[in-house]
């Protein structure tokens, strides 16, 4: 019996290298060596949107679309969206903005409840929170009409579209834009990201969603992990460029990569 499943050796090696460099950068941050990161504009945008909502006395919506936590490809962006929700809910509590989080799946609903509840507790504003109105379960599909109708009647002034977005992306962003809300959008689903990019005032593309999750944790060890992810990108660039040059001269490394 082989020690490692055939065809997955390079995969495992890659995973170890990338995960290793992420852990390395996180460890380094403990000793105060913090890599210099490009600032993500989205961090300031969160406050800008919430501030606008407070000023106008209107609610902000935090939408995550598909949150089926039993589907791996959806789970990852959803967890990232929860991390950003933790920050956003807390800012909303501090600034005193009305906040609404509809969730379309039961498990994600319990998580969102807990996050928002903890956020208001941390800011000592529990009395301002009506949990059953701030976080609401809506059956997946039926949320479309509910949210559109309420966007118009609430005249919401700000919206966050973060998570795993599917066809609802264009429905909600277009309505929010027509109502006059300021929007931050971000997803990693290739089919629907164009709408978030085209319609929202600010957008996060693919990996930036995960990066924002790490960024807003306000913990330098966590945000340092982004430097570790960059190692992976350098690996990708080098492999592609080197591999292409080699293959042009007749030497292929594709066989090596599929070991």
């Amino acid at each position: 019996m082989a020690l490692i499943v055939e065809g997955r050796i390079i995969g495992l090696l890659t995973l170890i290298v990338i995960a290793g460099s992420i852990i390395y950068y996180m460890q380094r941050a403990y000793s105060g060596k913090i890599p210099k990161l490009r600032r993500l504009q989205a961090v300031d945008v969160i406050d800008e949107i919430l501030g606008r909502c407070v000023e106008m006395g209107r609610p902000a919506y935090y939408l995550m679309d598909t949150v089926n936590m039993d589907t791996p490809s959806i789970l990852a962006p959803t967890v990232a969206a929860f991390q950003i929700l933790t920050y956003t809910a807390r800012r909303a509590a501090r600034l005193g903005s009305k906040f609404f989080v509809p969730v379309t799946q039961g498990l994600a609903y319990t998580i969102a409840c807990e996050i928002v509840d903890e956020a208001y507790k941390a800011e000592n504003k529990q009395d301002e929170l009506k949990l059953e109105e701030a976080v609401m379960y809506l059956p997946d599909g039926a949320d479309r009409m509910y949210i559109i109708n309420h966007m118009w009647s609430d005249e919401m002034a700000g919206a966050f579209f973060l998570g795993s977005w599917y066809h609802k992306a264009v429905i909600f962003t277009e309505n929010a834009a027509r109502v006059g809300a300021m929007m931050l959008g971000g997803t990693d689903t290739t089919h629907n990201i164009p709408f978030l990019v085209a319609i929202c005032d600010y957008s996060l593309i693919g990996e930036e969603l995960y990066a924002l999750g790490a960024y807003v944790s306000e913990d330098s060890t966590v945000s340092s992990s982004l430097a570790g992810q960059d190692v992976g990108k350098y690996i990708a660039v080098i492999l592609i460029v080197l591999g292409s040059i080699l293959i042009t001269f007749g030497a292929s490394i594709k066989g090596l990569l599929s070991m």
Partner: protein
């Protein structure tokens, strides 16, 4: 056992252990006992998700019930919800193959679902009119690519503007393919990074836990 241990640390450690088991099973040949355990764990996930949906509908029904009870704003709509819920759930719980239950699904739920799904066609158009404007070079790229590909796909496009077919096919294969490849590579790294942070217990916000940080 301290409060902190059961409320916080065990769930985090559990997350990491389960996650690592899934990864190890994939790369290393495992005895069937481990594979079976993983299959069982995954079936637990589906059961818990199903239970979570039951919980969600109960909470929603309680919410509407309260609204009717207190005569909150627009409480009369909540009656519509409650009647629809009770009838459908009642029929379905007694027998999921009940013909009336299936009739409701086929003739009410699917058409509304399909109609709502198709709303995208309208919003996609009004959004296009409003935002697809060549404000700068970046916006122009998006606009031109969208226009050419659409004309390539509708039957009349190829008749009115024959060159859109080869140009559209090329854009779809080369520049667009390259853009998405780069994005997918980035996203895959984002997922790995997220996994490392969650499994190492550095990020636990998704459990509703947020601690005051040592350093700001």
């Amino acid at each position: 056992m301290s409060d902190r241990l059961i409320k916080m640390q065990i769930p985090i450690i559990l997350t990491a252990i389960i996650g690592l088991i899934m990864i190890i099973e994939f790369f290393f040949p495992m005895p069937t006992a481990v594979t079976n355990l993983n299959v069982t764990l995954r079936s637990f996930v589906t059961i818990v998700s199903a239970a979570a949906l039951i919980l969600g509908t109960i909470v929603l029904t309680i919410y509407h019930g309260k609204k009717v009870g207190t005569k909150g704003s627009e409480w009369y709509y909540s009656i519509v919800y409650i009647i629809a819920f009770v009838v459908t759930a009642g029929l379905g719980v007694t027998n999921v193959r009940d013909t009336t239950f299936l009739w409701i699904y086929n003739n009410m739920t699917s058409p509304i679902g399909a109609a709502l799904y198709s709303l995208t066609a309208f919003y996609i158009t009004s959004a296009a009119y409003r935002v697809l404007r060549a404000r700068n070079w970046n916006a122009a790229v998006l606009l031109v690519c969208a226009l050419i590909v659409l004309l390539m796909l509708i039957p009349i496009g190829a008749i009115l503007f024959p060159p859109v077919v080869p140009i559209g096919t090329w854009i779809r294969n080369i520049p667009s393919g390259a853009g998405f490849r780069g994005m997918i590579i980035g996203t895959s790294l984002g997922i790995i990074g997220l996994g490392v942070r969650v499994f190492s217990g550095r990020q636990k916000e998704h459990m509703g836990i947020r601690e005051e940080r040592r350093q700001e």
